[in-house]
Symmetry: D2
Subunit: 309 residues, 4 copies
């Protein structure tokens, strides 16, 4: 395939093996918040896209893949999710997916970056689709981990951890540790379900994802059921990893028919995480299982995961 | 993730949305054959890699994903594959995978680019692993389509079509058409199985893959069973699509236990296409099913698929 | 020298030999006017910069080099420049330089792109420095060539042609031809001086510059004195070419002392085109003289120059 | 100008402001010597080119500009150069230029990188043009600075210091210091002439060049005459700086006619450093004079120049 070299680009690094140049047709807004560099831009074929610290986060073309994966397996697994917490989730699309379940009565979203969320509200309406105005929603701008500490025993049925990767100099490191997971568990109900985005599921750097699985598996008494799964996110040029940890319900035992039934009862419609696809996304390729055996470790505040090239 | 801008790169275009810069640590050999530009190069993390016309073809890191997908579903589906033909398949790894089945007596590989295959023999031994020297192998350098025409009725049990994408100015266009598929069918036995690489399975340009499915499905009398599947090829920065077309056996009816049994009997070992993973790779995401509905068409010599940005 | 690959860039093509990636620290404004794509951006080290159709036009670091070269040799050569016309010159800096001569009474700037000039006024004040508000200035937004046709006999002492390069699909082609130069001459006084930016003066594509010299030299009866000169524009990664054509005064005969005297009398201060530097910029390297011999031709409306890679 | 994004490139960093992608049509040879990474490659328009540590060093298109500047001003200034030393100068072109003067009887070239020189001999014959086989030549592969220490009092008429820029982790730092210059002076005759390449002469990072001038000027008793000059090296995308330091002869007093006379007597022909151009290259733009005033310092072994982005 050939293309024009001239133009405007955002360059993202994919390990030492490659640099990706995303072409920008139109820069909508760019700058720095207190926490991160951002660009809201229109990319050919991908459409409206968000970049944070020069890493693409989402595009309108396939945001549904990421956000359904982020929300739906956990939401659907819980038989009656009323109280839901989204940690991070700036664009409001993870929240939007959670609110699709008409069982929800109380949805809290805690994202520290108020400036970013304010811009998203204006320039990325296709993501939140009014979720921020939903009467069930409470939107907070504070540190998610501390907020969960302060809400120990609140009894969330589902917590969705849609937080940035644990980069070297960022605070994200302490949002991918056993201590953080325990804090989340303590804010959940006795049959609560936790799901998190866990980094790349490709063969090149699956270490973060498999260490998240390992860490949650090490908490058997809290989370008897732990399962990794992935979504094919074209915009990221790689499959993306997620982990679900559950106090009472086994995600692998959830039958296609039951998912379809719950979707129907709760008024949920999806495009990627469909009932027939549940099984496929929880079937991890062997390279991830091998990586888990060979490179995974329990992540702690003392020895967190640090994302490097 | 941060990285060094300085260095040697091969730039590949992924549609108008992005350019990928693959970093080259060491250029092993590069030049032009009669048919294509090539680079054999060492890429960080990916290791030894082959580029054709500035498109990455394979890396030692995950060549097994592509080549097992290219060979194993078709080879395994056939209950007793004796005569096998690989069309294209320059690196010899598709051939290598086919030869793993100890049922094989006669394996023909037809790749037009003799210069390239000669270089691969020397510089990419991890791919062929001696397959070219296997006494069951016949290696030919001629036009695969014409050769199949000349071998009508030969009775291949399996034909594996590992050919370059149908680029605008290349001959590949006529290796992705109904006429070509019929020629292949005519060279096959009455219970023959055909598999092909069919281009990207990502959400951005699945048109080629879904049109290949559509075209093979339009040949119901020849191929009652047609199924698309995909492999996660990290090196390609996208999932890759394949299509299997079968005269007698239904790939979706092949049980995990039966695959395991055939592997054991025939002495086959794999890393990606494992018995437990068969089901998952044949479960296509909805975006491919939608793309098939919306953009697929029957490809013919008159109106072939032309790969563009 | 090493640098970070990650970031925001504008990529400009320098022939088939190279692509230049300019790093953008902060995008101030970007979009399309009726005539061109533009970005006003802050580039590290270069500072505030303007890109048109993804070609850097100017940066605050060394805009004075280009704009002094564009204005000062012609302005200084004329013994008493009262009426001056700037064709193009969007940023207002060529105008600013002309207005430095206190002899000027009437300065017209004709730039077709009103939207661009409006943005420049707000976001690039260091360029115009109030020149648009100078009582001697008339700012017009119309086609410069047609406007000059309509002002035949107006008697400009100096015309400064600061127009975009003659790209393939742009109107610039007809602003680099003998016919256009004659139109300019007809709008000038009997001792008028004409100067133009003429494209790159590097060894790689000097064809435009030397053809401009050739074309003006072919008009001996109109312009007995023609001389090419160049400025070292760091921002362009190349020396830039200009041509001066004069009805009565010989630029090569202008002594350093005379320049210093005129500067003093007229209140002109400069940083690049200084009296002692006049001689050096009019001394062209042999490669330009050779290129003129070998590749220059007279440019006409029928066979204009077309800038290609 | 538009161009194709796809292809093979070498990326060089020009400060934090820009990355330059040089397109490679054909990679001739690439690898690592004991001292540096190298590529010998064919670049469109530039032709055969050499890259060291991913910095372009020379291309056949305009190598004459650099190498004439490196050799000719110093060689020509000396009234009778018999003994000449080239420090560095791997490609053999600086040596070639020195040998053009038929006065030369003894030419020593000291370049530490034997592997590189061996490759240059085979793959870059247009550079040396047989200079290495000239009976007047002695080619040595050892540390140039130490070799000069060991040859104190040898009485070179001309020393040409064609050494790599003083990068952070390279040994080049100690080849741009007062101590090194003194060592060179001590190996020279009483009327010896010294010339060096001194880094970029553009407005963006002239600090190295102007500090070299400053340092040599600080050695008034050794070198009463010091002058900076520059060449327009299209291949480098910038003007390049040199410094000449002379024990007895004043380069600025060398008249055009005298240069022409010496060229004729000694059988020298040139393309860039021509008699008429001597004056122009020694006329530095004001930005270099300002940079010298503002940023230059005396470079010493203790506080050498370190080239950074």
């Amino acid at each position: 395939m050939s293309s024009e070299a001239t133009g405007m680009f955002i360059n993202e690094t994919h390990t030492s093996a490659a640099i990706w140049q995303y072409r920008v047709e139109k820069m909508i807004l760019e700058g720095k918040t207190k926490y991160q560099t951002y660009q809201i831009a229109d990319v050919p074929r991908f459409g409206r896209s968000l970049f944070l610290d020069y890493n693409i986060q989402t595009s309108i073309m396939d945001e549904y893949v990421f956000h359904e994966c982020m929300s739906q397996p956990a939401m659907t697994l819980h038989p009656n999710p009323k109280k839901v917490c989204v940690c991070g989730g700036g664009e409001g699309a993870t929240l939007r997916e959670a609110l699709k379940h008409n069982t929800v009565e109380d949805a809290v979203m805690v994202d520290i970056d108020e400036e970013l969320v304010d811009m998203v509200k204006v320039h990325m309406p296709e993501w939140h689709q009014g979720a921020f105005e939903d009467p069930r929603t409470t939107l907070l701008h504070t540190d998610a981990r501390q907020w969960l500490v302060d809400h120990k025993g609140y009894g969330f049925d589902v917590i969705l951890s849609d937080l940035p990767n644990p980069h070297e100099d960022g605070p994200g490191q302490f949002l991918f540790t056993k201590e953080y997971f325990q804090i989340a568990a303590d804010a959940m109900s006795e049959d609560g379900v936790f799901a998190m985005q866990a980094g790349s599921a490709n063969e090149n750097y699956p270490e973060c994802m498999v260490s998240c699985i390992e860490t949650l598996e090490s908490m058997k008494e809290t989370f008897p059921y732990v399962a990794g799964y992935f979504g094919i996110v074209t915009t990221f040029f790689q499959p993306w990893g997620f982990v679900l940890a559950s106090k009472k319900y086994d995600p692998l035992a959830l039958a296609q028919e039951e998912i379809a039934k719950r979707f129907a009862e709760r008024g949920v419609q999806t495009r990627y995480y469909t009932p027939r696809f549940h099984q496929a996304i929880f079937t991890l390729p062997d390279y991830l299982l091998e990586a888990k055996k060979n490179t995974a470790r329990v992540l702690t505040d003392k020895e967190p995961f640090v994302w490097t090239a």
